[in-house]
């Protein structure tokens, strides 16, 4: 088990380095090959030539590419000072870059936005796991019944309807129609009930989409597992059906769900752009959307890195949980 952990951790670190290099390559190398002036895209199109030259000097764009990567890496751990064009800008560690356009370091933007996205993703995950898994298990146990068909139709609509549609419907019903919630985001440190009231609709909307997917996967997996020989063995022992399902079948059903959860959570933490936009939540997704609109490359770069990191961490956690659940995984 320990060897497995060390191997996974090592793989994660290697992966992280590769990710940073690839992302750096995408943002700095490809434009170079394409003949686009990167400094121009960092400072904005209507910038005067002096400012562009300043940014070019600050980023060291004239240096060889490995030196640029190294400076960027070093900045993450040791901070970085951008000097050039007659002034210098301090970027404290961990420095994920500096947006010359909006004149702010990227890291504070990320840390500002991250908790909102994390809360959105985790809250929704709890909801969709409870809803999706229980609906899926019930559907599997009552296969072919009215409940099963009904639940699967709802699940199908959940998978098919886009967030910006269900989000708008939820808003118009619960906020503008029934006036149940305020519909405004309130930071957690200001008021818990206000925060909760603002998050509940995004949670439900996001959870609806994922619960639908999880219900379908749970149902399919559960049906498959129920046909397994070891389920028959469990019954042959004289176990109560509740134990057969709740212990023996659920344990096996969890494995594919966990894999999905790892990837979904990772992707969501990187920014649930649609949900955050529909509900005007100041999360990473909204930040990156604004950055794309303003062509604010450093912010996009920072969010991309954080997203990759989130997926990496989520998958690492899943790998570890996987080994806890399935003893056979520990060998590989």
């Amino acid at each position: 088990m320990l060897a497995y952990l060390i191997r996974r951790l090592f793989a994660a670190v290697v992966m992280l380095v590769v990710i940073v290099m690839v992302v750096f390559g995408i943002f700095f190398l490809i434009p170079k090959w394409a003949g686009v002036d990167i400094a121009l895209s960092f400072v904005g199109k209507q910038a005067d030539p002096a400012a562009v030259e300043g940014v070019r000097e600050k980023l060291g764009l004239g240096d060889p590419i490995y030196a640029q990567v190294w400076e960027f890496f070093k900045g993450i751990f040791a901070g970085r000072t951008y000097t050039g064009g007659g002034d210098s800008i301090q970027c404290a560690a961990p420095c994920f870059g500096y947006s010359f356009r909006s004149e702010q370091a990227v890291w504070p933007v990320l840390t500002d936005r991250f908790p909102v996205t994390l809360a959105l993703a985790l809250g929704a995950a709890v909801l969709w796991l409870i809803l999706g898994v229980s609906a899926g298990v019930l559907s599997a146990l009552k296969r072919g019944s009215l409940w099963d068909r009904g639940a699967m139709v709802i699940a199908l609509s959940g998978v098919s309807l886009p967030i910006y549609f269900t989000g708008m419907v939820a808003l118009s019903i619960f906020v503008y129609g029934l006036d149940l919630f305020d519909g405004q985001f309130v930071p957690l440190d200001e008021s818990f009930s206000g925060w909760f009231g603002g998050m509940i609709l995004p949670w439900i909307t996001l959870a609806f989409l994922y619960a639908a997917m999880y219900a379908r996967i749970t149902r399919a997996t559960m049906l498959e597992i129920l046909g397994e020989d070891y389920i028959r063995t469990a019954r042959a022992k004289g176990l109560k059906e509740r134990t057969v399902i709740g212990k023996h079948a659920m344990r096996s059903t969890m494995t594919p769900l966990l894999t999905m959860l790892g990837m979904d959570l990772g992707a969501l933490i990187g920014g649930a752009i649609l949900t955050e936009t529909a509900f005007n939540l100041p999360g990473l997704g909204q930040a990156v959307l604004n950055a794309i609109k303003n062509q604010d490359l450093p912010i996009i770069l920072g969010v991309t890195l954080i997203t990759s990191l989130a997926v990496l961490v989520a998958n690492l956690v899943v790998d570890i949980l996987y080994a806890v659940i399935d003893p056979r995984v520990r060998l590989t």
């Binding site: 072919g144 019954r235 042959a236 096996s252």
Partner: protein, 365 residues
């Protein structure tokens, strides 16, 4: 006339009100049917037999003859965990030690499972839960029926693993099924099924998934344990060699029905049904000097949705045309006594069959 036919029908079809039998296990006219989109699958269609404690019954037949369905029916595993609309239709009677199982409360039957009757399955790798240790699974089986703490149950598990011949049982108890070899896994499976000293043990193809070299060990183990615990054993197999070693009585199934039943040596040395002849002819024998080619039973097993009319075996039977009036294709033969405690269901005359066996079949085997 009418009286005669009524009384004739009453003999073979006991009603639900019939008294509890004296035998430890008695199955009467068991039918297990499964409704499907294509029609009703009659996996078992009227099967009766008895079994005493300390005795072994071998049920043989090819795939789809209803062997496993019978065993799962006795265990009540067709009705437990049946989800969805299409439920198996089960009728008849299964008497276990004075209790009729089909009409009993399902929860009562559940409590009998694992304690009074236990089962060994064909493929021990898929029959053991991959995520729990061998020990955890045996402990669970023990603690369902015994109110003991985990420590005591684990001691019992180690004891059982030792009894079935697993080396270093105190260490192996914490291993997972994938860390066991095939033979070891089946030993663990046997340990698990015997942990509650069941009085009835059903072994469903216990050696089919195993290496040939391990098969004999497992069969020896089952026989030794049966002697030790004095339980009744049903061994289900398509391999006559397996039951030749173990069984006191043999029951040959074809198309969901019993075609021949009797003491093992009778069925082996004086078989009275053409299908049994076919099974014997298709079995490799090591005890003969001259190796003849195996004689397969021609054709394939019948569809259990459209079982051939008359004798189910008639499309594959080389002697189907011998009886008069096309009777093999119109009238279903009933089991008839052909010797002491020996029954066969065939339209051929008794003397005719004896002649065919001694003159045509036996010399070729």
């Amino acid at each position: 006339m009418t009286d005669l036919s009524k009384s004739g029908a009453a003999v073979g079809e006991p009603t639900a009100a019939s008294p509890a039998p004296s035998a430890f296990l008695e199955v009467r006219d068991l039918k297990v049917h499964f409704p499907t989109d294509d029609g009703l699958v009659k996996s078992v269609d009227g099967l009766s037999f008895q079994l005493e404690k300390g005795k072994t019954l071998g049920i043989v037949g090819e795939s789809g003859s209803g062997k496993s369905v019978t065993s799962l029916g006795i265990m009540g595993l067709h009705t437990a965990g049946q989800y969805g609309k299409r439920k198996a239709q089960i009728s008849g009677e299964i008497w276990l030690d004075g209790t009729e199982l089909l009409s009993a409360d399902p929860d009562h039957v559940r409590k009998l499972r694992g304690r009074q009757m236990a089962m060994i399955f064909q493929d021990p790798l898929s029959a053991l839960h991959p995520y729990y240790t061998i020990g955890q699974q045996i402990v669970e089986a023990y603690r369902i029926h015994h109110d003991v703490d985990k420590k005591t149950a684990k001691r019992r598990a180690v004891e059982m693993l030792d009894r079935v011949g697993i080396p270093q049982p105190d260490k192996r108890v914490d291993n997972y099924p994938h860390e066991f070899s095939g033979g070891m896994r089946q030993r663990a499976m046997i340990a698990m099924s015997l942990v509650n000293n069941p009085e009835l043990l059903i072994a469903d193809e216990p050696t089919t998934a195993l290496d040939v070299t391990v098969q004999a060990q497992i069969l020896d183990l089952i026989r030794d344990l049966q002697k030790e615990f004095g339980s009744a054993v049903i061994v289900i197999t398509h391999d006559l060699g397996v039951v030749a070693e173990l069984a006191d009585d043999l029951l040959v199934m074809y198309g969901g029905r019993c075609v021949e039943r009797g003491p093992a040596e009778k069925v082996f040395y004086e078989p009275r049904h053409p299908y049994t002849w076919g099974l014997l002819g298709s079995m490799p024998r090591l005890d003969r000097d001259q190796q003849e080619r195996l004689i397969p039973v021609k054709g394939s097993p019948p569809s259990l949705i459209n079982i051939p009319s008359g004798c189910a075996f008639n499309p594959r039977c080389p002697y189907a045309d011998l009886p008069k009036d096309n009777v093999t294709r119109t009238v279903r033969p009933e089991l008839a006594e052909v010797g002491s405690r020996h029954w066969a269901a065939c339209h051929l005359g008794k003397e005719q069959r004896e002649r065919i066996w001694t003159e045509e079949i036996a010399p070729k085997l």
